[in-house]
Amino acid sequence: MFNLSVTPLGNLFFGLTLIVFVSLALVNFASFRGSKASDFKNNSSIFLYTLLFISLGVIFYASDLITLFIGWEVMSWSSYFIITNRAKLKTSQKYILFNLGAGFALLGAVVLIYSFTGTALYSDIAFSKVPTALHFPITLLLLITIFIKSGVMPFHHWVVDTYEEADNLFSSVLSAIISKAGIFLFILMFSQIIGYKFLEPMIFDIVAWLGVITSVIATFKAISQDSMKRLLAYSSIAQLGYIVTILSIFSVSGIEAGLYHTLIHTLVKLLLFVNVASIIYITGKNRFSELGGLIYRYPILFIMLLIGIIGLAGMPPLGGFNSKFLIYTTLLEEKKALLLVAVMFSSASAFLYCFKLIYGIYLGQSTDEVTEHKELPTAYYIPQIIGAVILVVLGLLPSVGIAIFNPTLISLGFEPTAYSSLFELNGGFASFNGGAIMTLFILIFVAILSIAFSLKNKIRERRDRFDISYCGETPNPTVNLHYGYGVGEELRRISFIGVILRNSSKEYWERISTIVKDSSTLIKKLYGLTVQNIALLTLLFFTILLFVGVK
């Protein structure tokens, strides 16, 4: 029953898992060794992390559906136990219930496919044996699994609270890798096992729109957050929305764009979450309104975050642009103008929360000069440097990504994408030369910098942090000079954004939960009956059935 095999798709996702887990293990090891407040509470954490890692390997390398499911569920409950380290009971309940819901939906689909095709092995499954009437239920079940795992609305409620309340470093595992399990399932099930010809295009048009709507809403919610990790959580939801949307375009370029964005997003979120974890470690604070002005104390962390932001926003010359570019060219090729408008709209709005992230922490004025800062273990830089370096390399040589994905595309039965040079990225509809952009950028930057510094003359040094132009007066320490909380305030007054921010689908889920709880209390009364009543009921039951049966 337990079948594993090495495939390019599995290699790709497992490679990402390796990068994330190994770099984080180094960080955990360092902080575990060095300080009291570490993320590895005790040995059981080490066991659970290893178990989680193995389960991810099982998911990605499974060669039959049952093995896939086993890996999936073990991933769910091992990550649950790691989350309960720090999260509140309510949040961890939400996490496990949503994820078990995803797991059971997957089980339903697996059992249906297994039963009709007679085999669970990927290579042997002939989906044509499944009767047409069941195509929609199976697709729906798989979509539910994917939506819950990827945080597509309205199944996203577990994501935000979980990311915020889990251990800081584990949040990066959640965002970087565990969220990708849903993406892996999408590609595996829909592209490989089931195949596009059995899937109803209209359903996936709707899926594409759900993804994009999720992105738009999540982007605006991200902008209005004051907690660093919640902002990143909503950002993750938004980015995964893009991936879900572009994968619903059933073409080679769609899958390529989706894979590229998966790669970029994993690295970017690894970088960002570890950076945020570093700040929380150092200052003990996790809200923008309590931070600020850290750039000159921690310049390297600032630069790391800057690279991360440029990658997240998808701007040239770094690698983040490549995946956005591929997404746009795919949508242009397929002439999906409205989808493209929505994606670009959401991308542009993302600049705001990218700015908020870097401004709230590093720029502006510091709000707290008093609290002592802890020393950051060097290992915290490792995941960040890995992420940054790969982003730069991909910016310079964008087709390296294409080269990595080609084996996967071939294994899925598509034609590999040709590229003329590693410096150039060809999206079919259009192409650009990443090497040229990056080289140009560096050259011009250096040129301007030299102009700026060639005419150097004496500059007066700042007296203190209040030495700013402030409407003809000098602010004093009681004035809050950090605008960290303010980024995003105005958004609430814009009508359509305000509507998005004020409402939430949470109440519908809570209503379901209340209904279940109430019915529970009601039904439980049956089990508190006295013996006489039970006897009476039984007699009644007997008599009624007797009359019904004996005619």
């Binding site: 002005g293 750039i295 000159y296 600032f302 701007m315 040239p316 642009f321 570019f325 060219t329 242009l332 103008a337 409205l338 493209l340 408008v341 670009m344 709209f345 542009a348 600049f351 705001l352 700015f355 870097i358 401004y359 720029l363 502006g364 004025q365 509809f429 259009a430 192409s431 650009f432 040229a436 952009i437 140009l440 950028f441 011009i444 930057f445 301007i448 102009i451 700026a452 005419l455 003359n457 500059i459 007066r460 040094e461 700042r462 942090r465 030495d467 700013i468 132009s469 402030y470 409407c471 000079l481 950090h482 605008y483 303010g486 980024v487 995003g488 105005e490 958004l491 814009i494 009508s495």
Partner: protein, 292 residues
């Protein structure tokens, strides 16, 4: 090649400041004043290079400004000046319209970093307003650009220019053009969308702490960037230009229309800008999209 680039930069610098000077004069006449001399902007920027900075705000502040100029220059270099000519095309062969759209945001974002680092809350407020306004601005603009790209089945600006030899996009896709133009007003910093840098509003907004040669750099980048945006609009909607004279004429006409519109309207607040932009021009552009 290098000469080409230099030529492009000089042209942009020159015409950018020239137009700005003209803008000040025309606005003045509209207000019933005489206005400064047309070459005033040149004098201003050159003078500022020799002034000293007021305070040292650290390397990020200056890095931000350098970033901003780099962004402007890069945007410029990826837009071809002339239609169907080997000269003055810069690096447009290595990029495309999508690249240009993103490079347009690169500079302002770098600027945002710089301004954020000086610790002045007004600067940050200005940046936030700018970014919020950007949400509104880019919607109609991107709709129009997407429409153009799909209609021409390419993202290459030169090709889009050449395809307009049979008719300018402004006339074949008028609704898209109107949507883009209204957005363009905001990109150029003209009313009614100029709340970001409005001096009466947020104590000059983003440019609060600029001084000395970095202020000069900022002014230069604003000249270059304006010209780049004008160029982009002309290439996309007015068929580009086959020679320099035609280029000057077309950009000037576009610029003047923008100036006149700007002078007439009062300023929107950020919230009003976004609401207006998301409603009126976006819907116009969307309808234009339907007629592709």
């Amino acid at each position: 090649m290098f000469l080409d680039i230099l030529y492009m930069l000089v042209l942009a610098y020159f015409f950018g400041f020239l137009y700005y000077g003209l803008y000040r004069n025309i606005s003045a006449r509209v207000h019933g004043r005489f206005g400064p001399s047309i070459a005033q902007s040149f004098f201003d920027s050159i003078k500022l290079f020799s002034k000293e900075n007021t305070t040292n705000f650290g390397w990020m502040f200056y890095g931000g400004i350098v970033f901003m100029v780099t962004g402007a220059v890069m945007t410029l270099l990826f837009i071809p000046y002339l239609n169907g000519s080997k000269h003055l095309v810069g690096f447009s062969a290595y990029g495309n319209l999508i690249v240009v759209l993103y490079l347009m945001v690169l500079g302002p974002l770098g600027n945002a970093m710089g301004i954020g680092s000086n610790g002045n809350p007004f600067g940050a407020m200005g940046i936030t307003r700018g970014l919020t306004r950007l949400i509104g601005l880019e919607l109609p603009f991107y709709i129009a650009v997407i429409g153009i790209m799909i209609a021409n089945e390419t993202a290459d600006i030169s090709t889009i220019m050449t395809n307009q030899n049979s008719g300018y996009n402004a006339f074949t896709h008028p609704l898209l053009f109107i949507g883009a133009f209204i957005s363009f007003l905001g990109f150029m910093g003209k009313s009614p969308f100029d709340v970001v840098g409005a001096p009466q509003e947020v104590y000059s907004g983003p440019a609060t702490e600029f001084s000395g040669k970095f202020f000069a750099l900022a002014l230069s980048q604003s000249a270059i960037f304006s010209f780049a945006k004008l160029l982009l609009m002309v290439n996309l909607f007015l068929g580009g230009a086959s020679n320099l004279l035609e280029l000057v004429v077309k950009t000037f006409i576009l610029f003047i229309v923008a100036v006149f519109v700007g002078n007439v309207y009062a300023r929107f607040t950020t919230v009003q800008s976004v609401e207006f932009l998301v409603r009126v021009p976006s819907v116009i552009a969307l309808v234009g999209l339907a007629f592709l």
